[in-house]
Amino acid sequence: MEVSMTVNGRAVSADVEPRTLLVHFLRENLRLTGTHVGCETGYCGACTVHVDGKAVKSCTMLAVQAEGADVKTIESLASNGNLHPVQEGFWERHGLQCGFCTPGMIMASVALLDENNNPSEDEIRHGIEGNLCRCTGYHNIVRAVEYAGAKMRGEEPPPPDWEGGE
């Protein structure tokens, strides 16, 4: 059936089966492969994208459910070669090891900081509760989100742990 939505600011439409998942529509129809397919059962959050401004798991949503929606993927974050503060945070604070969970972690973190750009460590950990990192890199992911929050507030980020910061 016909489905139309806006993805990263671009109007798109396609003829899809009702069972087509949003993540497959993004990856296979639109070739936006930044969004990853992880666990496939809604646990891992690697497929996190924004639908109408809210973080959702695109492996647990049908493409047809996104009819008329405004969808944003990891590809929408950087502009003109400048990283989004959260992407910069993951880079600067080494918030990834293998990188598989990273697109979902970043999209969940962006949604978290959009609602509250000064979260406590506890709020960050709960905010990314729906995203699993099997390298267990959570410590630096939290630091990356703190870095991004500081940048978004126009403040100097705390120094990295390895330079004696806390």
Partner: protein, 285 residues
């Protein structure tokens, strides 16, 4: 991982939805319970009736002596509602502890009721708060008390031709309070309940005059622990009275062992969480 093939309709009115519903169809709101089941091929309906495009089902309304939660109100909205927090704290907390951020952004409070998972949070809150489920079909409306709604694992009292269009929650009065607490599978309160309990109490002149306590996570369905309520009523709600009442949390429940706990462990947790929920409810009055 795809579901099996199915037909899909997104009606724009309840009447259209009723017309579409048949023996091998399933209603979908957010899809956070249904889609994983279909992807795992545990369930393969021939037709999915997506009610998300039906206007008027997405509101959470103050109706004077009660609140209604429409079929499309998401967990995140139930959790963020001051109206729910101040009148049905057990349901509010249960909504806040459902799934994770992404799940709460899509899944609906009515959906988790209709899904009737034995380890879900909000059904316990609905039982304790005395909710009434409003089931509509082409032939009319049924009002089903929460205490009669949860039938078995993944089985509610809804008929295949019915849609849970809203939930009615009585507003909180003087001397009343409620709370929900749980142990989650990932420790703390994260993920599905290994065991959880919701409590609603009414206290007048120092003694408990009414109570409802529900347990979840431990058996085949969220269940009202009537023995606990019976034991609480007439007491002063002291720590020892609450402890003694919570000992009866397993009456009428078949405790099932699963990957997250033995029968013995879950039985213990049910009593611990019944006690905690009652104490928190009393402290909130």
């Amino acid at each position: 991982m795809y579901p099996r093939k199915f037909d899909y309709v997104a009606p724009s009115s309840l009447d259209e939805a009723f017309e579409a519903l048949g023996d091998d169809s399933k209603v979908m709101a957010g899809g956070m319970s249904l889609i994983p089941l279909m992807k795992l091929r545990l369930f393969s309906p021939a037709l999915v009736v997506d009610i998300a495009r039906i206007p008027g089902l997405d509101t959470l309304d103050d109706k004077g002596d009660h609140i209604t939660i429409g079929a499309l109100v998401r967990h995140a909205e139930t959790a963020a509602s001051d109206l729910i927090r101040s009148n049905a704290a057990a349901l509010s907390t249960a909504a806040a502890l459902t799934g994770d951020v992404q799940v709460r952004n899509r899944g609906t409070t009515c959906g988790t009721m209709a899904h009737a998972d034995a380890v879900a949070d909000q059904p316990a809150g609905a039982l304790a708060c005395g909710a009434v489920m409003i089931a509509q079909s082409a032939s009319g409306t049924r009002e089903i008390p929460a205490s009669e709604f949860f039938v078995d694992s993944l089985t509610s009292a809804l008929n295949p031709d019915e849609i849970l269009t809203s939930i009615r929650i009585p507003k909180s009065g003087d001397g009343e309070g409620s709370a929900y607490d749980k142990l989650g599978r990932r420790g703390g309160r994260s993920d599905y309940a290994v065991a959880g309990a919701a409590a609603w109490v009414k206290r007048s002149n120092g003694s408990i005059t009414e109570a409802r306590v529900a347990v979840t996570g431990i058996g085949t369905k969220p269940t009202l622990a009537e023995g606990v309520a019976e034991a609480l009523i007439g007491t002063d709600g002291s720590a020892s009275a609450v402890e003694a009442a919570a000992e009866r949390a397993l009456e009428g429940v078949t405790v099932l062992e699963d990957l997250y706990g033995s029968e013995e462990y879950k039985s213990h947790l049910a009593k611990v969480y019944a006690k905690r929920a009652i104490n928190q409810a009393l402290a909130s009055i």
